[in-house]
C-alpha cells in the first residue's frame, strides 16, 4: 500500500514509502533522490523497517472488520434523522452511519476499483463542499479561507463557488470570529470555523470554553451550537514551538464539545461531513504533516461515526492506541514488530473526546496489554486521560501496566534533531512493545 508523505512547501523534506508499484513522484528527480535516500537507510524513523516492508502484511487502514459481528454491507449514509434514536447501538447501525471499521466486507467503489484518489486536504475540501451544496446554512469563516483558498488549501475554490459571505475571509481576531461563529450557530447557521493553525485558537479559548461548550447547557437546552472548529495542529517540520502545539490537551476538559482527529483521506472526509451534520460543537483536529496523504476513497457518499474508533490492524499480542500522525509512526513500527514476530493490534482512536471504550475495551480484553502512542505532551494529554480511563474500566483485563508514549514536556524546539527527540519515534514504539510483551 502506498503512503505518500509530502510536507508543505515551507518544508523541504519528503519521505516516500511506496510499494514497488508506480508512484508518480518516484519518477521526478526529487522523488528519485528521496526514494534513494529512504532505501539507503536515512530518513525519518526506523529505517530498518523500510527495507523489510512487506505490503501484504499490512492490512488496509480503515477497511478492517472487527472480530465482533458487524454485518453492514453498505457504506452509504443516511443523515441522522428519526431513525437515529431507534438504533444507537454500535454494530447495528447498518442503515445509518457508515462505520469505517466495518468496511472490509462492504463493496464500495474504492474497494471494487472505481473510487477516486485524492490527497487528504482534497478529501476535507470534498466533504466540506458536499455539505455546503447540501445545506445552504453551512458556511466557512476564518483567516484566508476565501480568496487565498486556505493556507493548507482545504477551502480552495469554495469562495468562487459559494461567494464571499459563505466563505468568509475574517480579519485576524480569533476570539471575535469564533464567537461570531457561535452567535451565528445559535441563530440558525452552521459555521465551519477554521483556525489557521490550531495554536491560534488559544486566542479563542474564552469563546470555545465558555460559549461553545457551555451555552447549550446554561440556556437550558434552548440554543444549539452546531459549529465545527477545525484546523491543523501538531508538530510539523521545524515550525517552532508556537506552531507545533497540541490543543487537544487543553480543550479536552471543556464540557459540551466533541473532539475528533482525522488521519487518512477517508476518515478526513467522513469526519468532516459528520461533524458538520452534528448538532453538537465538534472540534476537528487535522495535522500539518498529513495533508498530502493520498488514498482512494469511495465515489458514493459516506460519513464516519464521530464517536467510534477505527481498527487499523487487528492483532493478538498488544493493543496500540494512537491517533493522527502518530498512527503512521505506529504502523512503521508495526512492520518491524511483525518481522520480529509480534502481532500488534493498532487502533486509531479518532474520537479524542469521548473515547470509544467499546472498541478499545474489546481490544484490551483480547490482548491484555496496552500501549498508547500520542503526540501530546506527557502531562495532561489525551494519553493521560486515556490511561486513566483504561485503568478505571479494564483494570482486571490488564497483564501489564498501561504504557503511554508521549512527546516530551518541552516547547518544540526549532532544530531538526531536537525536534525529532521531542516526539515519539518508531524505534521507541518497537522498544516499548518488546518491553510490554516480555
Amino acid at each position: 500500500h502506498k503512503y505518500l508523505f509530502i510536507f508543505t512547501e515551507e518544508i523541504n523534506f519528503t519521505a516516500i514509502l511506496t510499494s514497488p508499484s508506480i508512484s508518480p513522484l518516484r519518477h521526478s528527480p526529487w522523488g528519485k533522490k528521496m526514494a534513494a535516500r529512504i532505501h539507503g537507510g536515512a530518513g525519518a524513523g526506523a529505517a530498518t523497517a523500510l527495507s523489510t516492508f512487506n505490503p501484504k502484511k499490512l492490512v488496509a487502514p480503515s477497511r478492517t472488520n472487527l472480530p465482533a459481528a458487524r454485518s453492514s454491507k453498505r457504506c452509504i449514509v443516511a443523515a441522522a434523522g428519526s431513525d437515529a434514536s431507534k438504533s444507537l447501538r454500535v454494530g447495528h447501525s447498518q442503515k445509518l452511519i457508515a462505520n469505517a471499521a466495518v468496511a472490509t466486507k462492504a463493496e464500495t467503489s474504492a474497494t471494487t476499483g472505481t473510487g477516486h484518489e485524492l490527497l487528504l486536504f482534497e478529501a476535507l475540501q470534498e466533504g466540506l463542499e458536499e455539505e455546503m451544496d447540501r445545506d445552504p446554512h453551512v458556511c466557512v469563516m476564518g483567516e484566508d479561507v476565501g480568496h487565498y483558498g486556505g493556507s493548507y488549501k482545504v477551502t480552495k475554490g469554495l469562495a468562487d463557488k459559494f461567494g464571499d459571505l459563505r466563505v468568509l475571509d475574517t480579519p485576524i481576531c480569533e476570539n471575535a470570529f469564533t464567537g461570531m461563529g457561535i452567535g451565528a450557530a445559535m441563530t440558525g447557521l452552521r459555521p465551519v470555523i477554521e483556525g489557521m493553525n490550531m495554536g491560534f485558537l488559544l486566542l479563542a479559548f474564552n469563546q470555545i470554553s465558555n460559549n461553545c461548550g457551555m451555552l447549550h447547557y446554561t440556556s437550558g437546552g434552548q440554543f444549539t451550537i452546531p459549529v465545527v472548529i477545525r484546523g491543523p495542529g501538531g508538530v510539523g517540520r521545524q515550525l517552532g514551538a508556537e506552531h507545533s502545539q497540541r490543543l487537544e490537551s487543553y480543550f479536552q476538559s471543556i464540557p459540551g464539545i466533541q473532539m475528533v482527529a482525522c488521519s487518512t483521506p477517508y476518515n478526513a472526509k467522513g469526519l468532516m461531513k459528520a461533524a458538520i451534520r452534528s448538532e453538537n460543537p465538534v472540534i476537528l483536529f487535522e495535522h500539518v504533516l498529513l495533508y498530502n496523504l493520498k488514498e482512494k476513497i469511495p465515489d458514493e457518499e459516506y460519513i464516519c461515526n464521530l464517536e467510534e474508533a477505527e481498527m487499523v490492524r487487528p492483532g493478538e499480542h498488544i493493543t496500540i492506541l494512537t491517533y493522527s500522525r502518530m498512527r503512521y509512526h505506529v504502523m512503521q513500527a508495526a512492520k518491524t514488530l511483525v518481522n520480529k514476530g509480534y502481532d500488534p493490534e493498532v487502533i486509531d482512536i479518532r474520537s479524542l473526546k469521548p473515547f470509544d471504550l467499546y472498541t478499545i475495551g474489546n481490544s484490551v480484553k483480547k490482548t491484555h496489554r496496552v500501549l498508547i502512542v500520542e503526540e501530546c505532551m506527557r502531562t495532561g494529554g489525551i494519553g493521560a486521560s486515556l490511561t486513566a480511563a483504561i485503568n478505571e474500566n479494564f483494570h482486571d483485563y490488564l497483564d501489564a501496566p498501561v504504557m503511554c508514549l508521549s512527546s516530551q514536556d518541552v516547547p518544540t524546539p526549532y532544530a531538526g534533531t531536537l525536534e525529532e527527540w521531542t516526539v515519539v519515534q518508531p524505534a521507541q514504539i518497537v522498544t516499548a512493545v518488546e518491553q510490554l510483551c516480555q
Binding site: L88, P136, L165, N175, G183, H216, S219, G220, E307, K353
Partner: protein
Amino acid sequence: MCLCRTLLIQQIRGSSNAILVKEKKPTNSLLITKEEGLVLYEDMILGRSFEDMCAQMYYRGKMFGFVHLYNGQEAVSTGFIKLLTKSDSVVSTYRDHVHALSKGVSARAVMSELFGKVTGCCRGQGGSMHMFSKEHNMLGGFAFIGEGIPVATGAAFTSKYKREVLKQDCDDVTVAFFGDGTCNNGQFYECLNIAALYKLPIIFVVENNLWAIGMSHLRSTSDPEIWKKGPAFGMPGVHVDGMDVLKVREVAKEAVTRARRGEGPTLVECETYRFRGHSLADPDELRDAAEKAKYAARDTITALKKYLIENKLANEGELKKIDDLVEEAVEFADASPQPGRSQLLENVFADPKGFGIGPDGRYRCEDPKFTEGTAQV
C-alpha cells in the same frame, strides 16, 4: 424635562467616518403617544420593582451567587428594547435581568431562574448571569465581560446571511449591551472592526455607569469618551443621556433604522448610573455620596412620570405600580420544584451521543442511569 431635546446623528456627506452630533432645538411636538408612554413606564417600573425584589429575596436566602442589579439604568434597556421586534436579538452581560424582562421574558421565568427552579427560563441551569430565551431571542446573559459581543456580532451576521445568501426577507437587528469596563477589552474592538467591515445590523450600546466594580472609568481608560471610538472604526458614535428614556429612545430609533436599512452598525454610549453596588456582594463604599445623589435626582422613572403627567399623557391613577406582577412571580418561583437529578446530564449536548460509547457497546445516553442523572459519563 418638559421639553425634550433630541440628539441627532448626522453624517457629513462624502466622508462616512466623520460624524457630527448635533442638538436639535426643542420643539413643542411630543416624542411619544400615550400608549407608548405607558409601555415605557410599565417596563421601567417592572424592571425597578423586580430588581428591588431580587435584593430582598437574596437577603432572605432564596437566591445565591453573584446577582447584579440594574436599578437606575432602566432607561437604556427600555429605550432600546421596546423598539425591537420579537425576532430582533438582544445580547447582554451579567446585569441581564431587566434586558430579559424588556425583551419579553416573563417575570415568573426570570424569578424562577434566579431561584434555581425547573420553571426558570433556563431550567435553573443558567442563573442570574445567563438569562436566555429562544422564543424572545434573548441570546444571554454572559458572565465574562465582552464575551457576549462576538455572539451578538454572529447574530447580526446571520441576519445579513439570511438576506444575502438565503434570499430571505430579513431585517432583524441585534443590540449588544455592555459596560464601560468592557470598552477596554479586546473583544470589543475586534467586533467594532468586524461589524463595520461587514456592515452588520448591530447596535453596540455602552451602559457607561462610570464604575467597573470599584474601578472608576476615568482611572482605567486613556480616553474616557467611548462614543469617539466608533468613528475610528468607520461607524457613527453617539453619546446620549442614559438617564432619560426619551432621549435614549430617539437615538435608538435612528440606530435601529440605520441597521435595518443595511447601513451598518452604530456605537451608542449611554451615560447612566447604577444606584446599587456592582452586585449584592458589593459594599459600594468607594462611590461618592454626592455622585449618587446627583444621579438619584435624575431617576428616569420619576422623570418619565413627570413628563407624562405634565404633558397630559396620563394621570396618577394610570401610572400605578405593578408590584403584584413581581409578587406573583415570587410566589410562582417559590412554588416551583427544584430540578431533579435527571436534569444533570441533559442539555450538555444537543445530541447526547456526544457522551460517547461505553464499554458495553451502548451509547452512554442509552443507559437508563443517564436519564436518572447518575450515569458515569
